[in-house]
């Protein structure tokens, strides 16, 4: 196969932010997730948990609660506003001021008509859901103390509110508080502190379940207003509760990072009356579990440690299948690194700034396994702070290293870079069509910029020295309204490929500025696309790990792709749980496809036989130990290298050396604030 010089980069200090809130839409199987910086992410649980959409955050937008209303997504935060999001253009659609101070919680009734928000000033405000917006309807009885949590009774007539030291039950029609349930404070020193009911769940049998800052999960009878049962779950706070759709299972997330499951079962055999019994404890987090979702088959949890964890419930899924495996999603499923192949530059995208680095150099030669002496250290050329309060949603660096572009949801900026004397000049005159982009891409000769816009369209901009000029807007014929999340311009400047959240891949002919073809739509979303510079074949990798190769000339799947589909991918390949986020090619050998996910990078040699189901898949070690002539017998198309872990980017420079950008999870964990103190044995 060969030797590669690898630039192993670990200076990308990417730091994901804490997960604040979650909402699971069981109809569309989408999970909406809000982070501390205000960013929203949509995961498609039906499509291998792919992170389908990302709405960038905004300074000052602190989302405290999320709520799906049908396919509409609402959030509310401590800025006192309710926001509805435009999931097609990946931006807030509008915001409504609730005028009740910071909002702690929102809850929609089961009919999807009324949105209740709990405010700092002690009011529960009702908003009517209209076609295009929401409208304030009325306040419920104002209480002393803030409303921390809310839960509608499924009938829509009652609403329970968790407050300080108590729980209130309101009649939703009259707005009167009908019950007041006093919540006991913690023992000892915390006696003097009021207890916060962080989370509350109103079940259809009028049972109310509450989780509070004294570490209790309490079961109340909502009809009589009496306490049925107290479960002391933790010494710290119970921050989140979530109940399954059939109300037979309930999970509680704590500050210790544990998730405790309760099940509504009869405690002894042959007994009819059921009760809530604490059954299992999961410990998948090191920090607070702030958000929980109970899906049909799994517990989804997230919190301060920034990881999204999907823990399948083993009584709901088949054992020892892919479905039963624990999933942790720690790094984004899209690329935050842009590599200028010719110039040897790296662009790192942070929410509020961009960093431009020049790679180091080494003139040494070494044998495999060696570290070469670094002659020139890598240097940070530019740190570019964004303007405005919106976070950066996408960025790009031209292959020559002469242009840099980024976009937020409201603005677009293009810079001209001079690398020898390191200067940045903002290009002031921009075409007015170019206001915002979901994805950016430069043509390989750096003469054009492609920016994906609304309705899957792509704006083509010509780059000339003094100014830049709008050339064309490429539009697919499908009329899809979904955003384009992948863009790839072929090396010869002839093709541009786009992929959108509707799983469509369109290829445009840039000479004619027309749609060339649409790749047959596959059910899973593309996670990476690229066009082979030699053969003009498009390689697309999907969230379910399938690989397709599509000939742009013949407009059909290539022979190799058919063979691959016929034989099927190796089970170990399919079992990987992170998507391929980049596809690249080796210009020296057109048969080589370079792919990477978070845990490995892989070179597929199309000239070699595909691995059979029984052949050892990860066979690099075996091959290494074999003598030269025998290697060919045992080698197969997939050359997988796991030397580098938690990859953000793998790219091939023009001098055929690889750039590997790592972000070890350990480094992320070490930058997190200290978790709650726990007495460990013998400390």
């Amino acid at each position: 196969m060969g030797e590669f010089k690898v630039h192993r980069v670990r200076f990308f200090d990417y730091m994901p932010t804490a997960i604040r809130a979650m909402a699971f839409n069981s109809r569309t199987e989408r999970l909406a997730l809000a982070r501390a910086d205000g960013a929203l992410e949509i995961f498609n649980f039906a499509d291998n948990y792919f992170q389908e959409k990302v709405i960038p955050g905004q300074d000052g937008r602190a989302v405290e609660a999320l709520c799906w209303v049908g396919q509409r997504l609402f959030s509310a935060g401590l800025n006192g506003e309710i926001t509805e999001y435009d999931l097609e253009n990946l931006r807030p659609r509008y915001t409504v001021e609730a005028y009740g101070g910071p909002i702690w919680t929102i809850s929609i009734n089961s009919q999807g008509t009324l949105l209740a928000v709990g405010c700092e000033d002690g009011t529960v405000k009702m908003f009517e859901i209209l076609e295009e917006r929401i409208q304030f309807q009325r306040n419920l009885d104002r209480q002393k103390g803030r409303i921390i949590s809310l839960s509608w009774h499924p009938s829509g007539t009652l609403i329970a509110a968790g407050m300080m030291d108590m729980i209130r039950i309101f009649d939703a029609e009259t707005g009167r508080a009908t019950h007041r349930l006093l919540v006991e404070r913690g023992v000892g020193a915390s006696k003097s502190r009021e207890v916060v009911v962080w989370s509350i769940v109103f079940l259809s049998d009028h049972t109310i379940v509450s989780g509070d800052s004294a570490g209790k999960v309490q079961i109340w009878d909502g009809v009589t207003g009496t306490l049925v049962r107290t479960h002391l779950v933790t010494k710290w706070d119970v921050l989140a509760l979530s109940v399954s759709k059939d109300e037979s299972s309930l999970v509680a997330g704590t500050s210790e990072g544990t998730v405790v499951q309760f099940q509504f079962i009869s405690s002894t055999v042959d007994q009819q009356d059921k009760e809530w019994v604490r059954t299992r404890t999961f410990k998948n987090h090191s920090h607070d579990v702030r958000a929980l979702a109970h899906t049909e088959t799994a517990v989804v949890s997230g919190g301060m440690d920034t990881q999204l964890v999907v823990r399948p419930l083993l009584d709901k899924v088949e054992k020892n299948t892919q479905e039963s495996a624990l999933r942790k999603m720690s790094l984004p499923h899209r690329s935050l690194v842009c590599c200028a192949k010719k110039a040897g530059l790296l662009l790192f995208q942070f929410p509020d700034h961009l960093e431009l680095w020049r790679l180091g150099e080494s003139d040494g030669h070494g044998k495999p396994g060696d570290s070469l002496p670094v002659k020139r250290k890598p240097e940070k050329l530019i740190q570019l702070k964004r303007k405005g309060e919106d976070h950066i949603c996408c960025s790009a660096l031209s292959p020559c290293g002469g242009w840099l572009a980024y976009s937020t949801v409201t603005s677009f900026r293009l810079y001209r870079l001079q690398n020898n004397n390191i200067s940045v000049t903002k290009v002031s005159k921009l075409p007015k069509d170019l206001r915002s982009a979901h994805q950016l891409c430069f043509s390989p000769d750096s003469s054009k910029l492609f920016a994906s816009s609304s309705h899957s369209s792509v704006i083509v901009v010509g780059l000339n020295q003094p100014e830049c000029k709008y050339l064309h807007t490429l539009k697919p014929k499908s009329g899809s309204r979904q955003p384009v999340h992948l863009l790839f311009a072929s090396e010869d400047g002839k093709w541009l490929a786009t992929a959108n959240a509707d799983c469509e891949i369109h290829v445009y002919n840039l000479d004619k500025l027309k749609l060339h073809c649409t790749v047959p739509v596959y059910s899973s979303c593309p996670t990476a696309i690229a066009i082979n510079p030699t053969t003009s074949n498009l390689v697309a990798v999907h969230a379910d790990q399938q690989i397709f190769e599509f000939s742009l000339v013949q407009k059909e799947y290539t022979e190799w792709s058919r063979k691959l589909q016929k034989q099927g991918l190796h089970s170990l390949w399919l079992e990987r749980d992170t998507p391929i986020t980049r596809v690249a090619f080796n210009p020296k050998n057109p048969a080589h496809i370079i792919l990477h996910d978070m845990f490995m990078f892989c070179i597929i040699d199309q000239s070699l036989p595909l691995p059979e189901a029984k052949t050892p898949f990860y066979n690099q070690m075996t091959l290494r130990s074999l003598p030269e002539p025998q290697r060919l017998v045992h080698s197969h198309a997939f050359k997988i290298c796991k030397n580098f872990q938690h990859l953000m980017c793998v790219s091939l420079l023009e001098d055929h050396s690889l750039v590997v950008v790592e972000r070890p999870l350990l480094n992320i964990t070490s930058q997190l604030p200290a978790p709650v103190r726990q007495k460990k044995f013998a400390t």
């Binding site: 196969m1 192993r8 980069v9 070494g366 070469l372 070179i603 290494r624 290298c641």
Partner: protein, 720 residues
């Protein structure tokens, strides 16, 4: 080990132009082992005195005549017999100078060969397979000779063997690629025909060699692919089916010689004895591809015993008379004396200590020429090597006579004389050449001692053992003899130097040593090395206990007392197990037992014969050793010969295995067993603690391996 000595030239050769034949028809024995008759391929017969490398007389036929078979010596009539021009038999005596004037008789058919061996009459084998005694043939030379062989069947090789009852002419023939063996018995005449199994197509035997053993004729034949087969044919015929269909001769593969590349062309194998074969013209397995080697193989163990490179072309001819091999090679006929001792397993496995490796240590009490010359070996160079071989040769010819002489002497002479002679012999001969003879010497001494209760030469035997050329299998009775004569010093030496003492004998020694009273033991002189070791070990007994590595015996005391439940009084006086339960000399002898090699499954049954009293004593002694070893800083003084800790432990285990039930039932053993138990327990505890430490240290090691990658590096990887 068999040994090939430095050869010497008997005569020059006049090989044929094409170098295919050596120019020698045959070498035949003459009156004794020192005389041979060499017949060349043309016209002359020469009598040589081998040790002098000198021709004594020579006879030549007239120009135009040729000798067609090698001349033989009829020791009964002291006449030479040869055949010229196929049909003319010539007989002459040594005094006759001109062959033309000697007796001649013309027979009616072509003669293949005349054979004559000591103790047999001369026999004439005709080319067509008929056999006549020379006397009966000469009585009527023109008698008709029958044709035995078929058309196109030709004789390839023949020999003549005389057993106690019968004279047999053996010859092999070839007919269209098939090979047959004929056995012609004389008086009464019977003929047996066998067919040889075919080897790979196209391969015919290169050489044959026959010997007689246990009324069977043992035939060895070598094929060009290096396979050496053996067939056994009974001397007595089967009788009935004479002349019937040729029987297939059963064969067994004796050796598959390494042949390098290609097939053998000119090679020959010659039987030396039951177990040894001399092979010429076959490559040495460890010396590359050249085929000009003379090797002696042991067929029992398939081991190469000796090898020698022969300069010049090998013609595939090899003769053996007494202990000399005659090989024509290049342009000379060389005589190579050889010798092989009784083969033993130890020597076959190479376990017998080779004198070579011990050379520097060889006792040099008396200065000799050899020693002086050997000291030159300090300058390692090629010239020295040749000189060494030359000195070897010199020394060889002299003691080989003395050797036999001494062997004779041992059988009769009084003790003092034997001792003196052996001493002289040992001091004179260089150790390397001595090895084969030491075995003979020792076994003769032992057998004489066994026969004659008054005869015993302890010092000579000790000297012989000291040469390190002996092993138990060479001289199996030696140890038992020493035990019988209560020569425990010799026993000790044997235990020390013999690598192959059987477990039964070890046990017999153990029994003898342990049952000996300490008073008797004091009288035994023991080997000084072991003695000083034990002495220093016992000296510590009285001194203060050394604290080594923080290990204090007191901690054992504590452990032990909780094991025993007593131990109140133990603290002040030295505990019993700190005192050696046996005397110094006895301890030294027992140590020697501990250090012998053994296999426990063979040893166990013999150990069971020990009485419980002895077992107890031995166990106490072992415990004493073990305590000493584990308390004191012992390994420091291990320059001396001493048993190792594992050896001691193994013996404790063996003894317990063999006698556990007996020991459990013996009341005196209870304390001992409890002590052992508590001691072992404390050791196990220590080891488990050490294991824990090892575990954590290993973790430390692992942590170090993980190198820090840092923020940036340029690495080279390889994908396969």
């Amino acid at each position: 080990m068999a040994a090939l000595y430095e050869g010497y030239t008997l005569c020059g050769l006049a090989p044929a132009q094409n170098l295919l034949s050596s120019g020698i028809q045959g070498v035949e024995a003459e009156r004794d082992s020192d005389h041979v008759v060499v017949t060349d391929s043309t016209r002359s017969v020469t009598l040589y005195k081998v040790s002098d490398q000198k021709p004594l007389s020579s006879w030549t036929v007239k120009q135009g005549q040729t000798l067609t078979c090698s001349a033989v010596y009829n020791s009964q009539t002291k006449e030479y017999v040869a055949v010229s021009d196929g049909k003319v038999i010539r007989i002459w005596k040594e005094e006759e100078i001109l062959l033309d004037k000697a007796f001649k008789a013309t027979v009616s058919s072509d003669v293949w060969r005349v054979h004559c061996v000591a103790g047999g009459e001369p026999v004439v084998l005709f080319q067509r397979g008929a056999v006549r005694l020379l006397d009966s043939l000469l009585s009527a030379p023109q008698q008709p000779i029958e044709e035995v062989l078929a058309q196109e069947e030709v004789i390839r090789w023949s020999t003549n063997i005389v057993t106690e009852s019968q004279q047999v002419v053996i010859f092999t023939t070839e007919q269209k690629g098939d090979h047959f063996l004929y056995l012609q018995r004389l008086n009464p005449n019977t003929l047996q025909r066998y067919r040889l199994e075919r080897e790979e197509p196209g391969l015919s035997p290169l050489s044959f060699s026959a010997s007689c053993k246990d009324k069977h004729i043992r035939l060895l034949y070598l094929y060009p692919n290096g396979h050496l087969y053996q067939s056994l044919v009974p001397v007595r015929g089967l009788g009935a089916d004479e002349g019937a269909q040729a029987l297939l001769m059963p064969r067994s593969l004796l050796l598959a010689l390494p042949i390098g590349e290609g097939l053998l062309e000119a090679a020959s194998a010659q039987v030396l004895d039951d177990a040894h074969v001399a092979v010429v013209g076959v490559p040495h397995p460890s010396a590359g591809a050249g085929k000009d080697f003379l090797c002696i193989w042991n067929t029992n163990f398939q081991t190469l015993q000796a090898g020698k490179e022969m300069a010049g072309k090998i013609y595939g001819q090899l003769w053996r008379y007494s202990n000399k091999l005659f090989i024509p090679h290049g342009k000379t006929l060389s005589v190579i004396p050889y010798e092989w001792p009784k083969s033993s397993l130890a020597s076959a496995l190479g376990k017998l200590r080779q004198a070579k490796t011990e050379e520097s240590k060889a006792p040099t009490s008396v200065p000799s020429w050899n020693n002086i010359l050997h000291e030159e070996k300090a300058h390692p160079s090629r010239t020295v090597e040749t000189r060494k071989t030359r000195t070897n040769r010199k020394s060889q010819s002299a003691p080989s006579l003395t050797n036999d002489h001494i062997l004779e002497l041992i059988k009769t002479a009084p003790v003092e004389e034997v001792q003196k002679e052996v001493e002289v012999l040992l001091s004179r001969t260089d150790v390397q050449g001595l090895q084969p003879s030491v075995g003979q010497l020792a076994s003769t001494l032992v057998s004489r001692s066994l026969d004659d209760p008054a005869f015993y030469t302890p010092s000579s035997l000790a000297q012989l053992v000291h040469t390190r050329c002996l092993c138990h299998s060479v001289c199996p009775d030696l140890v038992l003899l020493a035990l019988e004569r209560k020569d425990y010093f010799l026993c000790q030496l044997c235990l020390q130097f013999f690598p192959d003492i059987p477990e039964a004998v070890t046990c017999a020694c153990l029994k003898a040593f342990i049952s000996m009273s300490d008073v008797d033991a004091e009288k035994v002189s023991v080997e000084p090395d072991g003695f000083s070791f034990m002495e220093s070990l016992m000296a510590r007994e009285r001194g203060p206990h050394g604290l080594q590595n923080g290990f204090s015996p007191a901690s054992i005391e504590v452990d032990r007392s909780d094991g025993l439940g007593v131990g109140g009084t133990r603290a002040e006086d030295t505990p019993t197990e700190q005192i050696c339960p046996v005397g110094l000399h006895k301890a030294v002898l027992l140590n020697e037992i501990l250090q012998t090699a053994y296999s426990d499954s063979f040893l166990l049954p013999h150990l069971k014969d020990l009485s419980s009293q002895h077992v107890l004593l031995f166990l106490q002694y072992l415990q004493f050793l073990y305590l000493k070893y584990s308390q004191d800083a012992f390994p420091q003084m291990h320059g001396l010969r001493s048993p190792s800790l594992t050896q001691i432990m193994d013996w404790v285990c063996l003894l317990l295995d063999a006698h556990f039930t007996v020991l459990v039932m013996t009341p005196e053993a209870k304390g001992l067993l409890l002590n052992l138990h508590s001691f072992v327990k404390s050791q196990v505890r220590l080891v488990s603690e050490l294991g824990k430490i090892e575990g954590s240290l290993q973790e430390l090691n692992k942590m170090k391996v993980k190198k820090d990658v840092g923020q940036y590096s340029i690495e080279v990887i390889e994908l396969f």
